[in-house]
């Protein structure tokens, strides 16, 4: 409490610091994990030691460098075609990050729009939207993605489309409920009394109150998008065959898991750390962004 009082006396700049402190270790660990992932994706050509497609059949299935029989040229070993596992992991991050950012943002935009409309209009508009969401959510998401990918055809666009089409409901449901709650609050009535229109109230008063919630959801959704991309590339209906993906690497590593377990274990590790990273970052950001500190 003492440093809170100090903060408000010092004015706005320190509020950011106070906010970041509020995020705590979750924020830092999450930001670090996501940061590593994003940097790897952006700088892939600079930091990867090998071309991810370059085959060296003479040194196939090498273990990581620190294990007996490892080669210092291939830090994390090679796969059954002699391709550098580390480089493939780094290049795979590009697909993962692209899918996570684009798919989650699009799903959020569509979901928020539907949620705000359903939550603020009420009546038959709300009924129609809610029923649509109910029906939508009754489909098994992965199956729907597979069907969609099969219909639109494989490729990055279809992976993103599949995720957006399935996951906008996640945002719509939560935003609808929260919009209804916020509209019942006195400040929303006060906003009506100052003559704001419905869209003005939603944009100026309600949306700012939804931000902490939406940011959390967005981060979680990015983790989910990565998982969906992995599943789709694992079954081989994601990006083109020669582009490295974590899901593809798992599929390849599965066949030789007894001879070379690291080929399968390493991409799994990457997936786990990215998903955890996004979730922690979302949690941390929620605390940072909420000035009321609803804890």
């Amino acid at each position: 409490m003492v440093d809170l009082a100090l903060d408000s006396a010092l004015g706005p700049p320190s509020r950011w610091i106070a906010g970041l402190k509020r995020g705590g270790p979750r924020l830092w660990v999450g930001a670090a994990l996501v940061g590593v992932l994003v940097l790897a994706a952006l700088l892939a050509p600079l930091i990867a030691l090998h071309d991810p497609l370059e085959q060296d059949l003479m040194s196939a299935q090498l273990p990581p460098a620190w294990v007996v029989g490892g080669d210092l040229a291939y830090w994390l070993g090679t796969d059954s075609l002699g391709r550098c596992v580390l480089s493939r992991l780094i290049y795979s991050a590009r697909t993962a990050v692209a899918v996570a950012l684009i798919a989650a943002s699009l799903a959020a935009a569509i979901g928020i729009a539907f949620g705000l409309i359903a939550g603020s209009f009420g009546g038959w508009v709300d009924q129609a939207t809610s029923r649509l969401i109910d029906v939508w959510m009754a489909f098994p998401p992965v199956l729907l993605s597979i069907v969609l990918a099969a219909v639109i055809g494989a490729g990055l666009t279809s992976v993103i489309a599949a995720i957006v089409v399935v996951d906008w409901t996640r945002f719509a449901r939560v935003v609808r409920a929260e919009t209804m709650v916020q509209l019942q609050r006195d400040y929303a009535a006060a906003a009506r009394v100052i003559g704001l229109s419905r869209s003005g109230i939603l944009r100026l008063e309600i949306l700012p109150n939804l931000i902490p919630l939406v940011v959390t959801l967005l981060a979680v959704e990015m983790g989910i998008a990565i998982l969906v991309e992995v599943i789709l590339s694992f079954v081989g209906i994601s990006v083109a065959g020669d582009t490295p993906t974590w899901g593809g690497m798992i599929a390849e590593g599965r066949q030789i898991v007894y001879q070379a377990p690291w080929i399968m274990a390493l991409p799994i590790g990457c997936i786990i750390s990215s998903v955890i990273g996004f979730n922690l970052l979302g949690d941390g950001l929620r605390l940072v962004l909420d000035p009321v500190q609803r804890r």
């Binding site: 009394v193 100052i194 003559g195 008063e205």
Partner: protein
């Protein structure tokens, strides 16, 4: 000169069909320009409902069954929505009941005042904040510029109510509806808030409809008063006259039920249940007459 507010024969019912209940049963009330009118009555008398009807804030299941509400000669009920919105916040303002919840929790005080000013006065962002600081100074807030940067949870309840009062008078309204603005505050702050409302009213020349159940408050600042019960006007007139020589037995009972420092506690009498019973059965008889129609 037309009255600031003229309510004629206003009937409001909640619900429809067999389950509907009348909350206002033909209320008429005229408020001259610059007049301060106290609107008193027990809980459920319909006093807040009258204020909400004027502001167009009736709950979704409430309907105006009959009567007119005129603001400076213009019918608020029949008026198209955009026109009504342009009056709200500018010509007609509300001082809300609960300062704790009537400000948006995630927006800085300055930003909230700026929304109002920019909506009605077409000010620049900068100009709006300048004006907001002046408004806060006008309601005796020290360091107005610092307060503009704070969030509502960082200032006290009395200060929030002063911010809301500043917002109510920001665009020179000619009618201010004060819906129990002192109820949620402690007694020491109440007095300051009342003085403030009185001072601003004189400066801006606004008519004030002061909704309260506190006869002490009415005696202090209202020149005229209206006693409401079960959605009907029982008595109205000059405050001094009504308080000195109440004509209606209910007003007399209400006065006897008000604690006063110059009277022993034993003198305090609750409103006799038989009287209330009588008034309600009278109200219900009126309802039936209305349903039967003027055959």
């Amino acid at each position: 000169m037309t009255a600031a507010l003229s309510v004629q024969g206003l009937q409001v019912a909640i619900g429809t069909g067999a389950s509907s209940a009348n909350v206002l049963r033909g209320v008429s009330l005229d408020l001259q320009r610059g007049e301060v009118r106290g609107l008193v009555g027990e809980s459920g008398a319909g006093k807040s409902m009258l204020g909400r009807a004027v502001l167009g804030l009736l709950p979704a299941n409430a309907v105006i069954a009959a009567g007119t509400i005129q603001f400076e000669g213009r019918d608020l009920v029949a008026m198209p929505e955009p026109e009504r919105r342009s009056l709200l916040g500018r010509r007609i303002a509300l001082i809300p009941q609960d300062p704790m919840t009537s400000l948006n929790p995630v927006k800085r005080v300055g930003a909230q005042i700026a929304i109002l000013l920019r909506h009605h006065l077409a000010l620049s962002k900068r100009g709006a904040l300048e004006r907001a600081a002046e408004l806060l100074a006008e309601v005796a807030i020290r360091e107005p510029r610092r307060v503009l940067e704070l969030y509502p949870h960082e200032i006290s309840g009395g200060m929030r109510q002063r911010v809301l009062i500043a917002m109510a008078f920001a665009c020179d309204p000619s009618l201010v509806i004060a819906d129990e603005p002192t109820t949620a505050l402690d007694v020491t702050v109440q007095r300051q808030v009342l003085q403030l409302v009185e001072r601003l009213r004189q400066r801006h020349g606004a008519a004030v409809l002061f909704i309260t159940h506190d006869l002490g408050v009415v005696a202090k600042i209202c020149r005229t008063m209206t006693v409401l019960h079960a959605g009907r006007v029982l008595e109205e007139g000059e405050t001094a006259e009504v308080l000195a020589k109440p004509r209606h037995p209910y007003t007399r009972a209400l006065l006897a039920a008000t604690p006063r420092a110059d009277r022993p506690a034993e003198a305090l009498r609750p409103v006799p249940p038989a009287l209330i019973e009588n008034l309600w059965s009278e109200a219900h008889r009126l309802d039936r007459l209305v349903v039967a129609g003027p055959a």
